[in-house]
């Protein structure tokens, strides 16, 4: 198995974990949200803000802000495009694809040939399948001959979607339609 290296996990203490779990559903929409959070966790607001700053600096938090619901905003076509590109060019090509404004996630993942030859994933949110296809064509044009094969996997149902929980685990999850 290919172990991801969880170096930063060791840097999280119990207070960080409590903070992460307490903000899964977002910050309170009150004038002093960090104070509200601090009161809930028995901390002071300055420490809450300092911890958020540090978690952002260490990359645990990638951003802090409004998280739009793409489906609700009309971005109902969710296409996971997957590409087989040469391993020695995946970093360079991944950065180019990841910089496209319509790509919301861009990752290298291991291939499992022969059934799964793809090593580059680019998530495309758009308002229709036609729009996704148009964007896939743009990525294909960008990759040129490095595109040795690709596929687009559309989601047809969201079967479970919950926030990340480190401990204790949450249960549940219903079925809802996706684009």
């Amino acid at each position: 198995m290919n172990d991801p290296a969880p170096l930063c996990v060791a840097l999280l203490d119990d207070t960080d974990r409590a903070l992460i779990n307490a903000t899964q559903a977002g910050l309170p929409l009150v004038p002093r949200p960090y104070h509200a959070l601090a009161a809930q966790l028995g901390l002071d607001a300055g420490e809450v803000m300092a911890r958020f700053r540090r978690l952002q600096a260490t990359g645990v938090i990638r951003r802090l802000g409004a998280v739009p619901n793409h489906y609700r905003l009309g971005y109902t076509a969710n296409g996971m495009s997957v590409w087989d590109v040469p391993d020695d060019r995946v970093a360079e090509l991944g950065r180019a694809v990841g910089a496209l404004d319509f790509v919301s996630h861009c990752y290298e993942r291991p291939r499992h040939p022969p059934r799964w030859p793809y090593n580059l994933f680019a998530m495309i949110h758009a308002r229709s399948r036609d729009e996704v296809e148009d964007r896939v064509a743009q990525i294909a044009a960008l990759l040129g001959a490095a595109d040795r094969g690709h596929a687009v996997l559309y989601s047809t149902a969201i079967l479970k979607k919950t926030g990340l929980r480190i401990a204790p685990p949450a249960a549940g999850g219903g079925r809802r339609a996706a684009g």
């Binding site: 802000g65 291991p110 969201i158 079967l159």
Partner: protein
């Protein structure tokens, strides 16, 4: 879930659009962040809070808060299974029943079940993956993130 076919159906105001588009990152780490946003937008703090609440109630905003990078707060992997269509609902329910599974999507492909498994460390993750395979009777494709190429500043929303 009812799905809007375009942004027009949501009838978003200019303030709602700016809050959605311009504040996906950089929420101020100051005692009154919504007041700081209000100053930039030329509106009141009360108006910012009320508008964010309304967007959350209507489902246009999932939340206002942190977005975590995978593999930094625990160890996770994307996994995929190829399941016979007539068996998909049953197998998907077993997979979703694991507390360690936090996303589970059906996708159109031979590999039609896609989910994310998160555990406190690599050993615990391996153990959960083995339990999922045993419970479903299906081998899974393990697709951990090797490299993240996207600089996440949110997602540019188009309003046309």
């Amino acid at each position: 879930m009812s799905i809007a076919t375009g942004n027009k159906t949501l009838g978003l105001s200019p303030l709602e659009r700016r809050l959605l588009n311009d504040f996906q990152h950089g929420l101020p780490l100051v005692p009154r962040p919504y007041a700081a946003m209000a100053r930039r937008l030329g509106v009141s703090e009360t108006e910012v809070i009320a508008t964010l609440r309304r967007l959350a109630e209507r489902g246009a905003v999932s939340r206002v808060g942190p977005v975590f990078r995978p593999n930094r707060a625990g160890v996770s992997t994307l996994a995929a299974m190829a399941v016979a269509p007539e068996d998909l609902e049953r197998i998907a329910a077993i997979v979703s029943g694991f507390a360690e599974v936090n996303h589970n999507y059906e996708r159109e492909h031979e590999y039609n079940l896609w989910f994310v498994v998160t555990a406190p460390d690599a050993a615990a993750l391996r153990e959960v993956l083995a339990r999922i395979e045993a419970a479903t009777g299906h081998a899974l494709l393990e697709l951990p993130l090797l490299e993240d190429f996207h600089i996440d500043l949110g997602f540019e929303l188009e309003w046309t």
